[in-house]
């Protein structure tokens, strides 16, 4: 957190925004290029940053010059970050990406005017800073939300006495776009899991009139969060989204399709239990309940901790954490081709019942046959002559 303060040229969070208001030339925003140059960052360093960004956004290296050009002339948008019913894991994930200077350039390229965990201000001053930023940039600021919103009782989650629902509705009014970060904000997450005691819903369930980018994951991969922000900065538009609002560039492929253990799946080489011989040889974790085939995320290519590893590589089956309702998806260690309920019991009871029914029906049929035979009257010549 101290790094953050130092990078902001020792101005408390939110005040540099006010500085712009009072300057003679009116609200003046430096472009990113100008900001960086004024901080003494060479263009070569900036190119390094663009190369890292292109790699992060899973873009072809041929795009690097375009990214450089776009970022250089980009204006710094105001960003308001609201945290609702969340565990702060998403912010933690993001600040791991922010751990060093090069990635902190992303933060220098935005003006993070409000964030509970990262900001220095507190109490009324913080809320006033938020309201000022909203008013100043009405229609142009970026709203980032993590955590779900409880509809059961507004008192379940409040900030400065304002319920999550009210704060979201109020802040969304002037937002240019909303980025829902983490599975809680995008699909309800763990609060939404059965039986959903707080009545938790996602941002998309409440806001219908603003463009929403869903960045799910529990937590999302840090570079995915910053990649979406960077896309918005570079191109000023929302990246192409899939049918549940996730950027296709990161969520377009299933884990199964990019998993390096796929050849083992195709050959039928599976780990049967944890730490057995197959597991040690790095075989496929399908039998251990891996949800890779039904999960869309960038874990298999982008990986975590700057490309160190991801759950499957470390020997644990994928939980499917970027999909809606993954907590109720039938058990983390139950393979997806297995039924979620006890079919064996059902089958045995049904068989027993059916056998009994079959015997009963058979007996009925028998007696019907016998009575028909008994009631069978022989045809006589007289009947024929009738």
């Amino acid at each position: 957190m101290t790094d953050r303060k130092n990078n902001k040229d020792k101005l408390p969070a939110g005040l540099d925004q006010h500085e712009g208001i009072h300057s003679e030339s009116g609200p003046f925003e430096k472009t990113l290029g100008e900001t960086l140059r004024s901080q003494g960052i060479s263009r070569r360093s900036f190119l390094k940053f663009c190369a890292a960004t292109a790699s992060m956004m899973a873009m072809s290296p041929a795009m690097i010059p375009k990214i450089a050009h776009a970022l250089e002339s980009a204006r710094r948008p105001s960003v308001i970050w609201l945290s609702f019913q969340e565990c702060t894991g998403c912010t933690e994930s993001l600040t791991r990406a922010h751990a060093s200077t090069i990635e902190s350039l992303i933060f220098d390229s935005i003006s993070l005017d409000y964030h509970h965990t990262l900001q220095a201000a507190a109490g009324h001053a913080a809320e006033e800073a938020r309201e000022a930023a909203m008013e100043e940039n009405f229609g142009k600021y970026l709203l980032v939300v993590d955590g779900s919103i409880p509809l059961g009782n507004p008192g379940y989650s409040t900030i400065a006495g304002i319920s999550n629902y009210d704060m979201l509705m109020e802040t969304a009014k002037g937002a240019a776009a909303i980025i829902a970060v983490g599975t809680c904000a995008t699909y309800g997450g763990i609060p939404h899991a059965d039986p959903n005691p707080t009545g938790a819903v996602s941002v998309g369930d409440i806001i219908k009139d603003k463009p929403i980018i869903n960045v799910p994951g529990c937590p999302p991969i840090p570079v995915v969060i910053t990649g979406v922000l960077t896309h918005f900065l570079t191109f000023g538009t929302i990246p192409e989204l899939d049918h549940i609002g996730r950027p296709k560039v990161f969520y377009g492929q299933s884990i199964h399709d990019r998993c390096y253990r796929r050849p083992f799946y195709d050959k039928g080489l599976f780990a049967e239990t944890f730490d057995d011989e197959g597991a040690r040889k790095g075989w496929c974790l399908y039998k251990l309940g891996c949800k890779g085939p039904t999960t869309y995320n960038a874990c298999a290519t982008t990986k975590w901790n700057n490309g160190t590893s991801f759950p499957i590589e470390s020997g644990h089956p994928c939980l499917g954490c970027s999909e809606p309702d993954f907590w109720d998806g039938g058990g983390f260690y139950k393979s997806i081709s297995m039924p979620t309920e006890n079919i064996t019991k059902t089958a045995i009871y049904t068989a027993a019942g059916a056998a009994a029914a079959g015997v009963a029906l058979g007996a009925m049929n028998r007696s019907k046959k016998n009575s028909a035979a008994a009631a069978h009257s022989k045809t006589t010549i007289d009947d024929l002559e009738k």
Binding site: K48, F49, A62, G282
Partner: protein, 144 residues
């Protein structure tokens, strides 16, 4: 990950064996580099391969880099953290590695080109250098 910073007591044993017999990413990638060299020779076009975009099994990245080896040029850049630009033993094939200031690799590219762009001095920097030097000379003239 700087190994010096992590205190290790005793030997760390990993249960997962590194094996890429089935994943086979090394050969196809080397073929791609070969084609890129062909392209460079015939059309003078640069090709850049992002190593992070390919799902490599553990150990494969090292195998690829070991195969490419080291050539005559090793350059170190100090720009927002360390960057290494190495020509491999195949001339025209460069490996550009970017680190952040905690020595984590944030990106790695294989560039097939005469010289990676990042090694060249940038126009804006040169212009800034010209202004800066002019200022410094003026100042030193004034104090004289």
């Amino acid at each position: 990950m700087s190994e010096a910073a992590i205190p290790v007591s005793g030997e760390v044993k990993f249960n997962i064996q590194i094996s890429d017999e089935l994943t086979q990413n090394v050969k196809p990638l080397l073929h791609e580099i070969k084609h890129a060299l062909e392209n460079l020779i015939e059309n003078g076009e640069t090709s850049i391969i992002d190593l992070r975009s390919i799902p490599l099994a553990p150990g494969e990245e090292d195998r690829i880099l070991n195969t490419l080896g080291r050539g005559e040029v090793q350059a170190q850049l100090d720009a927002l953290g360390l960057s290494e630009v190495t020509e491999t033993r195949y001339a025209g094939v460069w490996v550009v590695t970017h680190y952040n200031d905690e020595d984590n690799i944030i990106s790695r590219f294989i560039e097939v080109t005469t010289i990676p762009v990042i090694l060249c001095s940038q126009t804006e920097d040169i212009m800034a250098a010209y202004s800066s030097l002019t200022l410094d000379l003026d100042e030193s003239q004034q104090t004289n």
